[in-house]
């Protein structure tokens, strides 16, 4: 039973990584950039919800909606102002560094506005805990919600990217921007759309992250952002199911590492497993192994 229970814990934690990784991988796969500010958009989303609920007294649903809208706008604005001018830069590292600048900017703005003190997140999602096997296994409501959200978002994104026209356009843009343009794809708006979706999902991720681990500071998004990056790579860059599976596995490994090896070196264990997996499968679990035509 303890094994099952640990597995459940791992999946709960992993589902949080997964939900962040889904938004991350969207931008990562299409715009071909590591958006280091993604984690901070998550933080902004969480702060918006918290402020809307506690200070403005909005209903939870309305607050979430507000956060999604604001984060979407934020994502689009960031892309237009800070990333778009660098789209044709001679190295794609340039935009990576700018993303880091944006990350600092969001953190420090939040610091000035909300202060440094950690705040507890309020209960926005109220789903009862599931009790199984006479209380031997309990699954928290938020976990169920997160996993459900993950699956829904994963399916929706997969469908969107593969089966809809804007989705196809996104893939074309990720392959070859100029050629996509020649096909009539508006590259700017496609990338904006990508950021809009990614950032909207960040707001949801912020909600779920802070509901599961109810603490919030201006730096709350940074570490989960990195872990989501790890999860996205783990699953295979640009692969939507990969992001989800990568996230969940990351969580499970972390929990098993703590449970069966040592809680002091759990981080090292997670990363060591990641390395081993990548050495065996160099493009991640679901990454396509693109052979270069010589």
């Amino acid at each position: 039973m303890t094994f099952i229970s640990y597995l459940k814990d791992g999946i709960s934690l992993g589902s949080i990584y997964a939900i962040i990784a889904l938004g991350y991988t969207m931008v990562y796969g299409i715009a071909k950039m590591l958006n280091f500010a993604h984690g901070d958009v998550i933080m902004v989303g969480a702060f918006v919800i918290l402020t809307a609920v506690t200070k403005a007294g909005l209903s939870p649903l309305l607050s979430i909606l507000l956060a999604v809208v604001l984060c979407t706008v934020l994502g689009v604005v960031i892309e237009a102002v800070a990333y778009r001018p660098l789209r044709k830069a001679s190295s794609n590292l340039a935009v990576l560094i700018t993303a880091i600048g944006v990350s600092y900017l969001l953190q420090n703005l939040a610091l000035l506005i909300f202060g440094a003190d950690a705040k507890s997140f309020v209960t926005v999602i109220d789903v009862p805990t599931l009790v199984l096997f006479d209380g031997q296994l309990t699954i928290k409501g938020i976990t169920i919600v997160t996993i459900a959200a993950c699956i829904i978002i994963m399916c929706a994104l997969t469908f969107f990217v593969n089966k809809t026209k804007p989705g196809r356009a996104m893939q074309a843009v990720s392959e070859d921007r100029d050629a996509a343009q020649l096909m009539g794809v508006n590259v700017n708006s496609t990338i904006s759309l990508t950021f809009a979706i990614g950032s909207g999902l960040a707001a949801i991720a912020g909600l779920l992250l802070c509901s599961a681990y109810p603490t919030l500071t201006p730096y709350t998004g940074a570490m989960p952002g990195i872990k989501a990056f790890v999860a996205a790579v783990f699953g295979g860059i640009g692969s939507i199911p990969g992001a989800m599976i990568g996230g969940i596995l990351l969580g499970v490994i972390e929990i098993f590492g703590k449970a069966y090896i040592s809680s002091q070196v759990a981080d090292a264990i997670v990363f060591a497993v990641l390395i081993v997996v990548l050495l065996v499968k160099p493009t991640g679990l679901f990454g396509r192994n693109i052979q270069e035509k010589v």
Binding site: A179, G184, N186, V187, Q291
Partner: protein, 236 residues
């Protein structure tokens, strides 16, 4: 009025001027060839017309509309398609998906299906390979795909950048036949070619580009028999 009219076009890469004030026109139904040595600026010209590059000076009128003010992605729906140099197929898409991207701006499913059938008829190889990822196609196959993809938008004018590059002799002939049949079906063609002989033999008119300037123009037959052209571009 000409279908496509380029006036005093100047294009820069940073501080380097690649196009130094060229003017030319393409009339409806014509095949116009643009020939010139390596680095003359042929590709640059085509890319400027379809908005991938923006000119510093000059105007590009397509059916009376100023293209320099139209964003690149809107150009294809005006009826202009571009087969880019180096093919630029979507490497991870299948052949079929590439062709569908060509019809990105079109809505009517049945018509798209019809175009697809037409392209497959023109390029049976593409139908054979429709589920292969484009990146693993041979060079010639990719070239066919690039042309097929451009045709999927049902363009009124098609710009082709060295479509015969890397093709087998039989395919070169085929491609030129296809260009002719495309032209015969009413599509105007602006053709950039290194294979000047072939290009001139199917073109109505031609322009010769040298280091960013047009140095000669005229009827294709005339140029085909022009001594200096023969010497410089036909290898005779």
């Amino acid at each position: 009025m000409a279908m496509l009219e380029i006036k005093d076009l100047e294009v820069f890469y940073g501080v380097i001027q690649a196009i130094k004030g060229i003017s030319f026109e393409v009339n409806e139904g014509e095949v116009v060839a643009l020939i010139g040595a390596n680095g003359a600026g042929k590709t640059t010209t085509l890319q400027t017309i379809t908005g991938l590059l923006s000119p510093k000076k000059g105007s590009i009128l397509f059916e009376g509309q100023e293209l320099t003010k139209v964003p690149a992605h809107k150009i294809v729906s005006l009826g202009m398609a571009h087969v880019p140099e180096g093919r630029r197929v979507f490497a991870q898409f299948t052949v079929y998906q590439n062709l569908l991207m060509g019809a990105y701006t079109r809505k009517d499913k049945n018509e798209i299906e019809a175009s697809l059938a037409e392209v497959y008829k023109r390029f049976p190889r593409l139908e054979e390979r429709k589920n292969q990822t484009a990146g693993t196609l041979s060079g010639g196959e990719q070239q066919m795909l690039a042309m097929g993809r451009a045709l999927m938008s049902k363009p009124r004018i098609i710009l082709m950048d060295e479509p015969s590059m890397g093709l087998s002799p039989i395919l070169v002939n085929e491609i030129f036949d296809i260009i002719q049949s495309v032209s015969a079906s009413g599509t105007t063609v602006l053709l950039v070619e290194q294979n000047a002989k072939k290009a001139l033999s199917i073109a109505d008119r031609a322009y010769v580009l040298e280091t960013g300037k047009i140095v000669k123009e005229g009827k294709a037959e005339t140029l085909l028999n022009d001594d200096s052209i023969k010497k410089a571009y036909l290898g005779e």
